[in-house]
């Protein structure tokens, strides 16, 4: 076999491994960041006993999760019950594949050649030409984990929670897709790289958040609902549904559901940064790809902070109100926004 193909494959696999691990670490970091930030908003310190500033808290939580007894209730549908947490976690991670982390491929530092061949690493896992479609498709796949988890638990509360969650996720797919359609109209492409480089002009004013503020709002709100974040954290309304779809889950199986939710949030922040905040765009990002990566991280951090800020500020919405808001407000607003965008683009290009 061609050594170039082999080295490229190996490098790609290592890269995918690194990114997946980084996302899992991101989940661990998110649990701490969320607890710390929300604690500050409510005049508390948050976890500060495990390690300096509580930095080892995620490790402690992880060990707790791992060493808990794996209880499988007798009345569950075993196979589906065990599959559901994985089905919910994997799509959350996989959705990250199309997010471009920097502007262009770069060589691995200190190694110009491997086996006599130059190896360039692309700062994205896949440059799919229907990247946006991929994000939407994988995003809805996560619903399976939730509804199967709720159904296989063989418990009224779990089933109700699962149904409710899937209804919420599927409803909010629509306004999200419509908000993204206006982005597609602006960028003229579904490829994530293309969308990011379209936003590079005008010193940041070309970011789609400034060009399409309504689309941004709709996307962000729907994203919160789809990731099950506050104020749309209906999946885990503990005061109505015990634990929602995860009622019968414990130990690491619950940990996976939990992780799926957090990774979903991180990926949502990454996709928002990519689509609306210019991704890796910033001063000198074209020439020095590593700078673009840091710009990207900074933007993601800002969005995550806003998500936590919303969690600390706004109370949970009632289920029917949430559905009303989606179907009677976000969807029409998105359609109007789409029509206006199409009209303006048609006039300009005419």
């Amino acid at each position: 076999m061609d050594p170039v193909v082999i080295t490229t494959t190996v490098v790609e696999i290592i890269k995918i491994f690194i990114i997946a691990t980084a996302l899992m670490l991101g989940f661990a970091a998110m649990t701490l960041i969320e607890r710390k930030t929300v604690a500050r908003f409510t005049l508390r310190y948050g976890p500060n006993r495990a390690g300096k500033y509580g930095l080892l808290q995620p490790v402690a939580d992880m060990f707790k999760m791992f060493f808990k007894e794996e209880v499988i209730p007798g009345h569950v549908d075993r196979l589906v019950y065990l599959m559901a947490p994985g089905l919910s976690l994997v799509p959350a991670i996989v959705a990250f594949a199309v997010v471009p982390l920097a502007s262009q491929p770069f060589a691995i530092p200190f190694t110009e050649q491997i086996f006599g061949q130059p190896v360039m690493v692309t700062p994205w896992v896949a440059d799919v030409n229907v990247g946006l479609l991929y994000v939407l498709a994988i995003g809805s796949l996560g619903t399976y984990g939730v509804i199967l988890g709720g159904w296989s638990s063989n418990n009224k509360y779990s089933l109700l929670g699962g149904l409710r969650t899937s209804a919420q996720m599927l409803s909010y797919e629509l306004p999200m897709g419509i908000a993204l359609l206006s982005i597609v109209l602006m960028a003229g492409s579904l490829r994530m790289n293309e969308i990011v480089s379209q936003q590079g002009s005008l010193w940041g004013l070309g970011w789609f958040i400034f060009v399409q503020p309504i689309a941004f709002l709709i996307f962000f709100i729907s994203g919160l609902a789809e990731a099950g974040r506050s104020p749309f954290d209906l999946p885990e309304t503990e005061n109505e549904l015990i634990g929602g779809f995860a009622t019968e889950y414990g130990g690491m199986k619950f940990g996976l559901f939990f992780g799926a939710e957090y990774i979903h949030t991180v990926v949502l922040a990454c996709i928002t940064a990519t689509l609306f905040l210019g991704g890796w765009n910033g001063p000198l990002a074209e020439q020095v790809p590593i700078l673009g990566f840091f710009y990207f991280l900074a933007k993601v951090a800002v969005i995550i902070f806003i998500i936590l800020w919303i969690r600390a500020s706004i109370t949970r919405v009632r289920f029917d109100k949430m559905m009303n808001f989606c179907w009677k407000f976000l969807l029409p607003l998105g359609l109007v926004n789409l029509a206006v965008t199409a009209l303006v683009i048609a006039i300009i290009s005419f």
Binding site: R44, Y45, N48, A312, S313, I314
Partner: protein, 171 residues
């Protein structure tokens, strides 16, 4: 239609106000008391764990009269008196408390023992961290009750208004 627009506008304003309030508190220092690391400040007249006082020369104030045990509504105090001798002198008077035990699981911290004491030997001071690993350790013996007892996790609150207006709690 006008109503809907109005609702959207007022709703957005309210949401922005809510976010503003939380952001304001985000930049304040937390009010949490980091208990074992930072002392907890209690009021000067706070009634906590008992302490058996001594005179300045080191002799015990308690004369073993059992008035505290008689006054105790939960019967949690036991006093066993013994005679002072010139070789072994514990308190200025004739008798002293050879055994002095308080069952902290029964004590209700009413302070009647301190009220009843003729020599002001027993006083309810400010320690409140009274957890034990063994139930029997909750029966405090005389050695543990005697002065000095000055744990690092307690501070006395300097409440000027409280002290000045009511004339309470001279330090």
């Amino acid at each position: 239609m006008i109503n809907e627009v109005k609702e959207v506008v007022t709703g957005s304003v309210e949401l922005a106000r809510a976010m503003g309030v939380t952001l304001k508190y985000f930049f304040r220092t937390p009010v949490t008391n980091q208990f074992p690391d930072e002392p907890v400040a209690v009021y000067p007249r706070f009634r906590g764990r008992h302490v058996l006082k001594r005179y300045e020369n080191g002799l015990e104030r308690c004369i073993g009269c059992s008035l505290c045990a008689a006054a105790c509504p939960t019967d949690c105090i036991y006093v066993g008196a013994a005679e002072n001798t010139d070789e072994e002198r514990y308190s200025p008077g004739e008798r002293y408390a050879e055994i002095y035990e308080i069952n902290m699981l029964r004590c209700i911290f009413c302070g009647y023992c301190a009220e009843a004491c003729p020599t002001e030997a027993i006083v309810l001071e400010h320690d409140f961290a009274l957890a034990e690993y063994d139930r029997w350790d909750a029966v405090y013996t005389k050695e543990r009750l005697l002065e000095p007892h000055d744990p690092p996790h307690i501070a006395i609150r300097d409440d000027e208004v409280f002290v000045a207006k009511a004339g309470w709690g001279q330090k």
